[in-house]
Amino acid sequence: MNFDYSDDQKFLKGEARKFLEARCGSAVVRGVLNNEDVSFDKDLWKGVAEQGWLGAAIAEEHGGLGLGHIELCAIAEEMGRVAAPIPFASTVYFVAEAIAAAGTDEQKADLLPKIAAGELIGCYATSEGPGALTPGAVKCKVEGGKLSGVKIPVTDGDCADIAIVLANEAGRPGLFLVDLKGGGVTVETLKSLDPTRGVARLTFKDAPARALGAAGEGFNITEQVFDRAAVLLSFEQVGGADRCLEMAKEYALERYAFGRVIASYQAIKHKLADMYVKNEVARSNAYYGAWALNTNAPELPVAASAARIAGSEAYWFASKENIQTHGGMGFTWEVDCHLYYRRSRQLALVAGGPKVWKERLVTQLERRNAA
């Protein structure tokens, strides 16, 4: 049985932690939070690119490090721990994975090296309005290689260079690569629950669009990409939830009330034990997801759904109960609790919310039982 990070992976994770603790303290996160004109931390982005992490799971022939996806999971866990204010997930988990999965050789050779080098920021645009993503909800259209329509909200759409857009062509859903710096694109930054991850409305009017993957496969590829992203996001969720538990513990051990530290009250101890239990359930499901992702196992849709559901639940619980443990201080702007409360929502919604994933999981289980 070998169901844990290897020693090499642990070493990489330890290095990532050191780097991110040094380069991404909460002052860095707040630099983005407190400035509406800044959508991500450019120094951190550059540093992460120099570490090679943008291309951790990108093949060496395309300029990446050619490590496995477990290594990327280890990095994701550390990114989540510090609530890194950079478009890492959009660019690496969604766009790079989509190009690697569905791109032509030419597209891969063109785009992946730029992503690995930190020269290209990507975003993945599916939503057009409130509610779950369904085929009927897609109104964006491509005709004669030109895209028209509106995508809202698009995470990191405010800073991305390219977008992968879900749109219909000849009545069939497809994915399309669009240069956001080119013509026919209007980008508007919007306010969001988590200002440390930018969100935009992208309005396309006859914007040049290149197909990514086969015609009619837009939803199928998106499902595959979301499964892969869900596993990586679940590691960010585990990292964030762990940090919330640590913060709650550190505070409870130094805060006195009624003559003793609040960590000595069972109401607090049991709350923190509940956090621990949920975090471990999330971690174990995330590990299974990592295995399925790394081996392209047929179990990936089930494993990814379970990882995402458990990660979303654990991070939600840990982030809200961390505030509760901090009492009034936890509700101030100056204390970091709300950074995690906000990020927990961003991560739980960005690839479809828990309700969608629970339905996906049960559908998969029914299929598995029928087989």
Partner: protein, 408 residues
């Protein structure tokens, strides 16, 4: 990250499998009576199987060879148990004795006593039980009131234990008693081994809230034990008890009863006012949560096995298992019962769906949330031993036991 055995583990599994294949079939109790736990036939089959395992080094895989053990690793023990469960010959009668009582005897008894008891216990010839919990001390085991008073070379014991698993078929037990009520509670305890067949020991089955009687009360009326039956020093009983509890066997099995697959099956064939329950959105959300929790437990066990495989000692993290499993069992069985609507009230296996599986586990679940550490005690363990939070304020720490407030 994978689920594969290392080459050494795979070789051990192969060896265990081959041995089980050759020997297990003859030790399955197949008659109607023999399949019923606690029946004489079932017990006889279990004992014979245990003897067979002992003769081949599979009874106590991690024990040293000089005591008849297998001289193996904890992970080998887990591997063997997994393979044993697959062939359907795992019996539970010896778990407490070999997992907790006999290791305590081995740690604290003299050579003669050890020689006398280890072999027969390992072969299943003698069964042991653990006499710790009392009516006034469940979670607070150190509050034991059963009293032992020295009389020459003997001790005279009076009092009562409760929730003793297997007392009705046990031959020996380890017993935690109060030898000095004038010192604080942890300091006045002493441990003995006792003969459960002594006429001064009376075992009475408990009529549980579930309707069954798996556990017992044990009464001691002027039970006389020799001072040589003492395990550890006078007043060192709490230290000895901690050794017993630390020996608690690594829990690797899942809990029994209906699981997410069972309730999916029920939901396919049971209607709500809006059609089959399996189509009901509220049910589907809950089902997803149950699946995620069950898988979380399964993969947490895999992580524990990985730690063993790498030669590490798993810590109290495994306490999370029972908290999740017991609560999930309770919630899921109630969801099954409510799904059956008016029919859910039936417990008759010939009438209730799936032989009343959900009703039975509904009635059993409250016990599972208490047995072997309540939810609340397990959360304390996580908070204190895993997270390092302070222990509770103890108002009884420096008070003589006899002066402690006791309530009812």
């Amino acid at each position: 990250m994978d689920f594969n055995d290392s080459p050494e583990e795979a070789a051990y599994r192969e060896k265990a499998r081959a041995w089980l294949e050759e020997n297990a079939a003859a030790h399955k109790s197949t008659s109607a009576n023999g399949r019923r736990p606690n029946s004489p036939e079932h017990m006889a089959a279990a004992k014979a199987w245990q003897t067979k395992k002992a003769e081949n080094g599979y009874a106590c895989i991690t024990w040293p060879k000089e005591w008849g053990g297998g001289g193996g690793t904890p992970l080998q023990s887990v591997i063997f148990s997994q393979e044993e469960a697959k062939v359907g010959v795992n019996y539970g009668y010896f778990t407490i004795g070999l997992g907790m009582c006999v290791p305590t005897v081995m740690a604290f008894a003299d050579a003669e006593t050890k020689t006398r008891f280890v072999g027969p216990a390992m072969k299943g010839e003698e069964i042991w039980c653990q006499l710790f919990s009392e009516p006034a001390g469940g979670s607070d085991v150190a509050a034991s009131r059963t009293r032992a008073i020295k009389d020459g070379d003997e001790w005279v014991i009076n009092g009562q234990k409760v929730w003793t698993t297997g007392a009705q078929y046990s031959d020996y037990g380890i017993l935690l008693v109060r030898t000095d009520p004038d010192v604080p509670k942890h300091k006045g305890l002493t441990m003995f081994w006792i003969d459960m067949h002594d006429p001064a020991v009376e075992v009475r089955p408990i009529h549980q809230a579930s309707g069954g009687s798996e556990f017992n009360e044990v009464y001691f009326t002027d039970l006389r034990v020799k001072d040589s039956q003492r395990l550890g020093g006078v007043g060192d009983g709490w230290k000895v008890a901690l050794v017993t509890l630390m020996n608690e066997r690594l829990a690797v099995g899942g809990s029994s009863g209906p699981d997410y697959k069972t309730i999916m099956e029920l939901a396919r064939t049971t209607d709500t006012v809006n059609g089959a329950a399996i189509r009901d959105g509220a049910f589907r959300e809950k089902l997803a949560d149950w699946y995620v929790a069950a898988e979380g437990l399964k993969f947490t066990r895999f992580r524990t096995m990985t730690a063993l495989s790498r030669g590490q000692t798993p810590g109290p993290e495994s306490s999370i298992g029972k908290i999740i499993a017991a609560n999930q069992m309770q919630e899921m069985s109630n969801a099954g019962v409510e799904m059956e609507d008016q029919y859910g009230i039936l417990t008759d296996p010939s009438e209730a769906p799936l032989q009343a599986a959900f009703q039975q586990s509904l009635l059993w679940a409250p016990g599972l949330r208490i047995a072997g550490g309540t939810d609340e005690i397990l959360k304390n363990i996580i908070a204190e031993r895993v997270l390092g939070l302070p222990g509770d304020v103890r108002v009884d720490k420096d008070v003589a036991f006899k002066d402690m407030p006791t309530g009812r």
